[in-house]
């Protein structure tokens, strides 16, 4: 079993509250990602789960046993977990075999020598390193070292595997490949994975659930689709990828469908679902969040009553294309297909898919400027 129950977990470093009253329950066999920008407390949380850090408040319970609390912390070696470190942390003075077999040697009662050898061989085979047992870490490529680290943490067949940004040191292509393999291994072994990353693509592609952390606070804990399409806050929406934040005013709010009729800054009217737990009042200033792929561009016809926008920038990224439209004071980022034939200064019309947009309380901060990520 590998269920983890985190309650009211907090950690301070001096005056800095790194993790703030975090609550999280992770079911057995799930792939859960702690996602957030650097300094959000995700690694600290992971290291508290591993037993390297003592929490200031709260508890971590695994399969019903309290492993961490401010009073006592079960030391890492007695937790039976596995961990993959960001820098792999392979022991340079031990061969691949010796690295991998280490965890088995620590097990009590002692395992038979032949069993150990077989299990190491099997796990090396699983990660695609059969026959590499006699090499030393220094003789391996980054990707191979990564696999050794994975094998070392899996060989003891832990019920929980902790992964601290394991792919961040790999190049883009290898990262994609390892992403598939990690997911595959997790599905096959049914080990509970707790995965830390700041890369939302990684998080979305692999996880059963994503815990989005910001400044030590859990902002949202939900499956990837929900985090992406129904973000709990503007901050989450922003962090999960490029998003347009359009100032708007509420005309009316329909509670049964949780849909607000809003008038956007540049005049268009839409019926947009409100974010969870937000009930806007008529006349209230709000922010409408729309992803670039939820806006479609069509050629402007003279008879159209929809507002015109002017193309102010076109960015061809290869597999897709981004346009920046300017309408009044607002800039909209729109994702189009890569065959679109647009130029600066063209006048176009556009449609917003209201069901894929969300209404949030008016954002006051400057974080409504996600354009920087495009450049």
């Amino acid at each position: 079993m590998g269920t983890i129950e985190i309650k009211g977990l907090s950690k301070n470093y001096g005056d800095l509250r790194v993790v703030d009253a975090l609550g999280l329950s992770i079911a057995d066999g799930q792939f859960v990602t702690l996602l957030g920008p650097s300094g959000c407390g995700k690694t600290t949380t992971l290291r508290m789960i591993a037993g390297f850090i003592t929490p200031d408040e709260g508890t971590i319970t695994v399969d019903g046993a309290v492993l961490s609390s401010p009073d006592h912390v079960v030391s890492p070696e007695n937790r039976g977990m596995g961990m993959v470190f960001q820098n792999y942390a392979l022991w340079p003075h031990k061969s691949v075999f010796q690295n991998v077999v280490y965890g088995l040697r620590m097990q009590r009662p002692k395992l038979r020598r032949e069993d150990m050898r077989d299990r190491v061989a099997a796990i090396l085979d699983t990660v695609g390193l059969a026959g590499y047992g006699d090499r030393f870490p220094g003789q391996l490529s980054g990707g191979q070292q990564q696999r050794v680290a994975l094998a070392r943490s899996l060989v003891t067949e832990p019920s929980i595997l902790l992964l601290d940004e394991p792919l961040s040191n790999l190049d883009a292509k290898l990262r994609d490949k390892m992403r598939d393999e990690l997911q595959e291994i997790q599905r096959r072994t049914n080990i509970t994975f707790v995965y830390v990353t700041h890369d939302q693509t990684e998080a979305m592609s692999m996880s059963d659930r994503i815990a989005v952390l910001r400044a030590g606070v859990l902002e949202q804990y939900a499956p990837p689709r929900q985090v992406y399409f129904r973000p709990a806050s503007v901050a989450v929406a922003d962090f999960m990828g490029l998003i347009n934040l359009i100032p708007a005013r509420v005309e009316s709010y329909d509670r049964p469908t949780a849909t607000a009729e809003v008038e956007l800054d540049f005049g268009a009217r839409l019926g947009v679902p409100a974010a969870d737990g937000f009930e806007p009042a008529a006349g209230e200033q709000v922010t409408v969040a729309v992803r670039p792929e939820s806006i479609t561009i069509r050629p402007a016809s003279a008879v159209d009553e929809d507002p015109f926008a002017e193309v102010s920038r076109v960015m061809m990224l290869g597999h897709l294309c981004y346009c920046v439209l300017r309408i009044g004071e607002v800039e909209l980022r729109v994702q189009t297909d890569n065959h679109v034939d647009l130029d600066r200064g063209d006048r176009v019309c556009f449609d917003i898919d209201p069901r894929r947009a969300s209404v949030f309380p008016a954002s006051t901060t400057s974080e409504s400027a996600p354009a920087k990520e495009l450049v």
């Binding site: 079993m1 590998g2 591993a50 037993g51 390297f52 695994v62 399969d63 046993a65 309290v66 492993l67 006592h72 912390v73 079960v74 030391s75 890492p76 070696e77 007695n78 937790r79 039976g80 977990m81 596995g82 961990m83 470190f85 960001q86 820098n87 942390a89 392979l90 022991w91 340079p92 003075h93 280490y102 965890g103 620590m106 097990q107 099997a122 796990i123 699983t126 030393f136 870490p137 220094g138 070392r152 943490s153 899996l154 003891t156 067949e157 832990p158 019920s159 929980i160 902790l162 291994i185 096959r188 072994t189 049914n190 080990i191």
Partner: protein, 575 residues
């Protein structure tokens, strides 16, 4: 992978887990306690007696010792001599060391490897051995060089007299100039050639670049090394004693030493010791301050490819200059020791019937004193090196990994011995241990304690630099794989530190073998060390045996260091 078994590790009863956890923190506490206890015994205890002794001891609190010392005109002579020697050694070291460092780091001078090696050889020759070699070379009447000059020029008397302030200063500087070379060339290596090239492209000449850009950039390193040279020269008891005492030129260390001669004046000795400590600590603080301000040195970024200056026609003059200096610092002293050790009588000149191995045979097998001394030295230096490295590893580990409250105090205590010149440490130890009923004073144990204390900073520093290169996650990976703290330490951290620890061990061993000041104060009949034996034999005038013993020390030193180099290079291949 086959279907994963649900392992039952995590379902152990919590009570058992709790017990094991507590044991883990207990071992960490034990480590902390052991290190703290060792430092208190080794450092705080003798320091306490030193301070107390200078303030009148246990009887009554008084400043009379200090007053007595200050009102003694002999003190001023000793103080001025000490300062003159230290300043002179500074000047000589800078004048010779900076050009050599620049030549090694920045030019195409041939034989850089040899020059680097000569620098470390000059550093490893114990000061008192250089002094003895120079007695053989430049004693007023029968020194080899004097006799050479007399026979060549027909002059009545040779020109050199090593028993003089300039003589002491010169010999002292040979033992310390390596600091200047090593620190300056390290600083030069960290200056990117880009800063020089950008000046060059703007039209500056090479000389202007050197004086206006390169040297100012390494000035902090120069100042720091100069202060280090100063501090070391203050305390080089061996050369001060061998070259100064016969002609009553006193320095602070030799003055302290003679205050211990019969009848001993502990009060004055401790007061004088405190003054030497003050001088040393003051300089070390100044040095630390200089180094802390050197922010702009590191802005070179990655030390890229260095442009090496083509010396052109100056190439061979530069080579000759360097080797002329090392002739004085290394070739002559080692040469005269080697030749003398192979002669039946050193006065009879270089002839075949004067050639013999008897001296080696005598010191190794015939003389019970020298054989005993050699064995004592091996035992004490070996134990001090082993314990010093272990204690150093402990303290470094506490500082870097456990980081408990009060780790700073521990670290601070471990650096205190840097501020205690050997002779001063010995004074403190005598006062501290002579009064105890346990038989420590007068045994090899007191020497071991002394060496251990003296070389704690060396042990800490080598363990520290080894530990810095090991990412904490390596040990954490051991823990999460199920290995206990002790186990991770034994299987992962210590083996990875091996190279650094071996290097630290041999550095301590070599220095302990050549340590004179501490040994001369603490030995009794039966616990002589090889340094003491050499000193005593030289006072009796047995220069052939002295030379043989000295050569044995040098050979052992070279062997140990060469072996270490081979071992540490081959050991851990980091990635």
């Amino acid at each position: 992978m086959n279907a994963v078994m649900i392992d039952d590790q995590t379902s152990k009863p919590p009570a058992e887990r709790r017990a094991r956890h507590r044991r883990g923190s207990v071992s960490a506490k034990l480590v902390l306690g052991a290190a703290a206890a060792a430092l208190v015994v080794l450092v705080v205890y003798p320091l306490f007696w030193l301070v107390l002794g200078s303030l009148g001891g246990t009887d009554k609190f008084t400043f009379s010792n200090y007053l007595r010392v200050v009102s003694d005109p002999g003190l001023y002579d000793a103080l001025i001599n000490t300062l003159l020697i230290a300043t002179g050694a500074c000047v000589i070291s800078l004048v010779t060391g900076v050009p050599i460092a620049w030549l090694i780091s920045r030019t195409n001078i041939p034989g850089k490897g040899l020059l680097r090696m000569l620098t470390s050889v000059s550093f490893m020759i114990p000061g008192f051995l250089s002094a003895l070699a120079y007695v053989m070379l430049m004693a007023p009447n029968n020194g080899w060089l004097n006799r050479l000059v007399v026979s060549v020029t027909g002059a009545e008397k040779g020109p050199f007299n090593i028993y003089s302030l300039p003589g002491i200063t010169m010999v002292t500087s040979f033992g310390v100039m390596a600091y200047v070379v090593m620190l300056t060339s390290a600083a030069l290596d960290s200056v990117d050639s880009g800063v020089e090239q950008s000046a060059r492209i703007l039209g500056a000449s090479r000389w202007k670049i050197l004086m206006g850009i390169t040297l100012p950039l390494v000035t902090p390193a120069l100042l720091a090394s100069a202060l280090l040279v100063f501090v070391q020269s203050l305390a080089l008891f061996g050369s001060h004693a061998i070259l100064g005492l016969p002609v009553q030129i006193y320095t602070l260390p030799t003055r302290i030493y003679s205050l211990f001669a019969f009848p001993p004046d502990y009060g004055a000795a401790t007061a004088l010791s405190m003054m030497l400590v003050l001088l040393t600590v003051g300089c070390l603080y100044l040095q630390r301050w200089v180094l802390a301000r050197r922010s702009y040195i590191t802005t070179g970024g990655k030390a890229g490819v260095h442009e090496t200056h083509d010396l052109g026609r100056l190439k061979w003059p530069a080579v000759i200059g360097c080797h002329a200096f090392f002739a004085l610092a290394v070739y002559f002293p080692v040469g005269v020791l080697l030749l003398t050790s192979l002669m039946t009588a050193q006065g009879s000149g270089l002839t075949l019937d004067n050639f013999t191995f008897d001296n080696y045979f005598a010191v190794l097998f015939e003389s019970s004193l020298t054989r005993r001394a050699a064995i004592n030295s091996l035992i004490v230096a070996g134990s001090a090196a082993t314990l010093g490295v272990l204690l150093g590893a402990l303290i470094a580990y506490i500082n870097f990994r456990l980081k408990p409250r009060g780790a700073k105090v521990l670290d601070y205590l471990a650096t205190i011995p840097l501020g205690l010149p050997g002779i001063v440490l010995a004074v403190g130890l005598v006062l501290a241990w002579i009064r105890l009923p346990v038989a420590v004073y007068g045994t090899l144990a007191i020497l071991l304690i002394a060496y251990l204390t003296r070389y704690i900073p060396l042990g800490v520093r080598s363990a520290d630099s080894a530990l810095r290169q090991i990412d904490p996650s390596l040990e954490e990976a051991g823990r999460i794989s199920g290995g206990s703290w002790l186990r991770s330490m034994a299987e992962i951290t210590l083996p990875l530190m091996k190279g650094g620890l071996v290097a630290g061990w041999s550095l301590i061993f070599v220095q302990a073998i050549g340590e004179l000041a501490v040994a001369i104060m603490l030995f009794t009949v039966g616990t002589e060390t090889i340094a003491v034996a050499i000193y005593q034999r030289s006072e009796e005038g047995h220069f052939e045996e002295v030379a043989a013993l000295s050569m044995l020390v040098l050979i052992a030193t070279a062997l140990i260091l060469g072996l270490t180099r081979r071992l540490t290079r081959a050991s851990v291949t980091r990635f």
